[in-house]
């Protein structure tokens, strides 16, 4: 009676509830992308329609405008406890991708995220990353500790087995919780289809091109695609060999750019 999507959903809900019960102050990170929309959907399922903790959006001010419209519409419709953060000082000082994409990502995404965590005293942040997105993410834990500087020590990660997660940690550290870690890109789209989850239009092809991964306008490229519906995207993904983050320029600045971003605290 249960499909593989049910199994994924059940596991994610278990993780989300575990985070809610075990961690003092948590928030969910909402990037407006497909994964974080699925994540938000799962939170509502886990808590029977409620979202019992803040929803954090880090606005870089370089986001594609449709994303912000989408955010404001659904924040209202779903009655989300939204917190919007951003690095206004860096923006005022002229931070832009021209100064280096990794530098820009650190300043406009990682830094404000750390700031929000500090300001609100969050000890856990739920993030919708997946193992199949990128090599370093494939090594993540479901409950992944960050030190006081929000850094990720990928060389010495806690053991994690039998669904017993690291829920005890020293004061000052916080956790990233990854309920979608075991999902694939295809799983996400099949779940979007099954549950009819609303997404930003940018994912659907117009004039032979679409976004496969959403980020800031200057650093996010489109891929060639004819897929204009969720069903067509699912078909496309079953055969594609182009990687999901191929449109994300900041990953490519050097061979370890993404790893450096993540160990500093990028999501």
């Amino acid at each position: 009676m249960s499909s593989d999507l049910d199994a994924l959903e059940n596991q994610s809900i278990f993780i989300i509830r575990e985070a809610f019960n075990r961690i003092d102050k948590i928030a969910i990170l909402w990037s407006i992308g497909k994964d974080s929309n699925v994540l938000l959907w799962l939170v509502r399922k886990a808590f029977f329609g409620h979202v019992p903790f803040p929803v954090v959006h880090v606005d870089t001010h370089y986001k594609i405008p449709e994303m912000i419209e989408f955010r404001d519409r659904f924040a209202k419709e779903w009655n989300l406890p939204l917190i919007v953060g951003g690095n206004h000082k860096a923006l005022a000082d002229g931070m832009n991708p021209g100064l280096g994409r990794v530098t820009c990502c650190s300043a406009l995404k990682t830094e404000p995220l750390k700031e929000i965590i500090k300001e609100n005293g969050f000890t856990g942040v739920i993030v919708g990353i997946r193992r199949d997105e990128e090599g370093t993410r494939s090594k993540e834990r479901v409950f992944s500790p960050r030190n006081q500087a929000a850094e990720w020590d990928f060389k010495d990660q806690p053991p994690e087995f039998w669904d017993q997660f690291k829920t005890d940690f020293a004061p000052g550290t916080h956790l990233r919780i990854h309920p979608l870690l075991h999902w694939s890109e295809l799983d996400v789209w099949r779940y979007v289809e099954r549950e009819n989850i609303p997404l930003v239009d940018l994912y659907f092809a117009k004039n032979g091109r679409r976004y496969r991964s959403l980020g800031c306008a200057p650093c996010t490229g489109m891929v060639d695609s004819q897929a204009a519906t969720v069903a067509e995207i699912i078909e496309e993904l079953k055969t594609t060999r182009v990687s999901e983050r191929s449109g994300r320029a900041q990953d490519k600045e050097s061979e370890d750019a993404f790893e450096r971003l993540r160990s500093q605290g990028y999501m």
Partner: protein
């Protein structure tokens, strides 16, 4: 029959035997790599002036390329004609055993890679043993680097014999042993022309022959409570069914509390039809027909098939902690959603998994396996691993870290026949209409007994009175039971004979328990020199009892002698005076030690305050170490 459900395969083996190479090449052979991945890596290799290796596909991390070893478990998806797979690439280096366990514990099946030239090595045996210990029952062996032994059938036969003999000795029969040359793709997808003597299935055929882990539908119901939600008018008991099934109308028994209630509804969001049945693997929420007190950690079952309830059980465990496991040491045990403090009562034997030799010892070093006897303070609801793996396994936590994992055996323990809920058969049959939980919520903190014990002059009364004052001003409901005060009334009929003193302590224990049942924090300040008397006080409601050892040496107390009692006792003025003419048994495993020779009164009070604030502060959070399994 094709399937949408990915089968999880863990690849293990000794360092440098070629696990990552096998996986990298498999991905290539099955067209599972993104366009350009191999080309990018070849370019990187050229730039660094090193030869390309298939293992680099896996080693996405900079640090790994530099060191040439897989640091952490990676999950890599690929697909055969039959079904999708997730490969869990586990590191072979001994240092990183915890990552291998992390990877292997979730796998459906395993592949053990052995170097044809090197043969079976320590890690080959260790990994084989641990896979078995973790409960993995499907294992294929790949004898790699056959090109390095000229595809020799006889060498293959030797390695086969070696590994078969070892696996047999731990009770494992490999599904298949396959000779391969992973670097060149021999026997991965198609039979190798270099090894015509091998007629068996290829690696991919062997993988396709594995079965997904059997779901636990058929086992008795185990539904550990994860949380209790009160977001709206509903009181929803949330959790994941670990085994069996439940339906609306079933009468559930919650262990170890022993409470029962019927399932009124299975709640859901955004689902058109009401759900009436839920099965193993589902994360659900239910409502009950009675408002009984339920909290995280309790395991719901059907009444006629409850889990075992025992304070003492055997386990076979692997140790991952940097600090060795010590006999007599206390750890936090996490089993399903429950947490208990357990003491390692005995390390029964230490197993060398590379030759299965056993040894005695009182410490278990990192990466070692041992059989131990564990004892909890109150009953733990559990199953033997052989009966139900999901409620028959646990992890141990020391400070902030998971330091070990184990599987439970009840061999030789009489507790086998004792169902979890029998613990409370003798408790009060009269039910209050207000639950302990209600009282805690109203007080905004939990209650319990802080049992201060220590020599006369150690500082019990001073600390307890100051503690009471400070807790009161912080808004806690708190009361101190002090020796002299009680002897004026409740215990006025008692003298100072050994029997009367024991009776005095028994009464204090009962009175303290009543205060705790009323939702308050009660602090007792009695010398209470005998462990057996304190244990009896604890046994009334172990989960609410906190033994606090106010520690000061006899010399120190003699020096302080605030009431002049030591002087009097030494002159023979007081018979049976603790420390002078009667013994003091220091607590074996107190919840808290306050060393007043080292700490000032203020610092001592701070220490106890922090303990209280950590464990009793929030009425809505539910620290499972003080699960109130008392019926009211």
């Amino acid at each position: 029959m094709t399937s949408d459900t990915a089968l999880k395969i863990v690849i293990v083996g000794h360092v440098d035997h070629g696990k990552s190479t096998l996986v990298g090449r498999m991905l290539h052979e099955t067209n599972s790599l993104p366009d350009g991945k191999v080309e990018t890596l070849r370019e990187v290799c050229d730039r660094r002036g090193m030869p390309f290796e298939w293992a680099f596909v896996m080693d996405a991390l900079q640090a790994e390329r530099d060191q040439g070893i897989t640091i952490d478990t990676a999950h890599i998806p690929f697909r055969s004609a039959l079904r999708p797979y997730v490969i869990i690439d586990a590191p072979g280096h001994k240092e990183f055993l915890k990552n291998m366990i992390t990877g292997a514990a979730s796998a459906d099946a395993a592949v053990l890679v052995i170097d044809a030239l090197d043969g079976v090595q320590e890690q080959s045996r260790r990994h084989g043993y641990l896979l078995h210990l973790l409960g993995l029952r499907q294992l294929a062996v790949v004898v790699n680097k056959m090109d390095a032994v000229d595809y020799s059938e006889s060498r293959f036969g030797e390695v086969c014999a070696q590994i078969r003999a070892y696996l047999l000795s731990i009770g494992v029969t490999p599904t298949q042993i396959i000779p391969v040359a992973a670097r060149d793709g021999d026997n991965l997808l198609v039979p190798s022309a270099n090894m015509p003597w091998y007629q068996g299935p290829t690696v991919i055929e062997t993988l396709d022959g594995f079965k997904p882990q059997a779901s636990a539908f058929e086992l008795p119901l185990r539904f550990p409570v994860q949380d209790v939600f009160k977001f709206d008018h509903r009181r929803i008991i949330a959790g994941r069914i670990e085994s069996g099934r439940l339906k609306v109308g079933d009468r559930l028994l919650f262990s170890p509390s022993g409470k029962t209630a019927r399932v009124s509804s299975i709640e859901a969001w955004n689902r058109p039809a009401p759900t009436i049945v839920a099965v193993a693997g589902q994360s659900i929420g239910i409502t009950l027909d009675e408002q009984i007190f339920i909290e995280r950690g309790q395991i719901a079952s059907l009444e006629d098939a409850a889990p075992i309830g025992t304070e003492c059980f055997r386990a076979r465990l692997f140790w991952l902690g940097r600090v060795p496991m010590q006999q007599g040491q206390r750890y936090k045990l996490k089993l399903a959603t429950a947490e208990h403090i357990v003491t390692v009562e005995k390390i029964e034997r230490i197993i060398d998994v590379s030759d299965l030799a056993t040894a005695d010892g009182v410490v278990v070093e990192r990466n070692a396996v041992a059989e131990v006897l564990l004892r909890a303070r109150s009953k733990v609801a559990l199953d033997a691993f052989v009966d139900n793996p999901r409620t028959g396994r646990f992890v141990l936590v020391d400070n902030y870290d998971i330091v070990g994992g184990g599987v439970i055996s009840l061999d030789g323990l009489a507790a086998r026949n004792c169902a979890a809920h029998q613990a409370n058969d003798d408790l009060s049959p009269v039910a209050h209409q207000i639950t302990l939980e209600d009282r805690w919520r109203s007080n905004r903190h939990r209650g319990g007994v802080l049992w201060l014990t220590g020599l006369s002059g150690a500082g019990k009364s001073t600390i307890s009175m100051e503690l009471e004052r400070r807790l009161f001003h912080k808004g806690y409901q708190v009361f101190v039971l002090d020796g002299d005060n009680l002897r004026r009334g409740l215990c006025a009929d008692l003298g100072f004979s050994a029997e009367d003193r024991a009776e005095n302590i028994r009464r204090v224990g009962e009175v303290a328990h009543l205060f705790a049942q009323a939702g308050m924090i009660v602090i007792t300040a009695f010398i209470s020199p005998y462990q057996s008397d304190r244990d009896r006080a604890r046994s009334i409601a172990p989960a609410l009892f906190h033994e606090v050892y106010i520690k000061a040496s006899l010399e120190e107390c003699l020096k302080r002698d605030p009431k002049g009692l030591y002087a009097k006792a030494q002159q023979g003025g007081i018979a049976q005076f603790t420390g002078v003419s009667a013994p003091y048994e220091a607590p074996v495993q107190p919840e808290l030690v306050v060393d007043t020779a080292q700490l000032s009164i203020d610092e001592s009070v701070d220490l106890v305050l922090r303990y209280i604030e950590r464990d009793m502060q929030k009425a809505d959070a539910t620290p499972a170490t003080i699960a109130p399994d008392v019926a009211l």
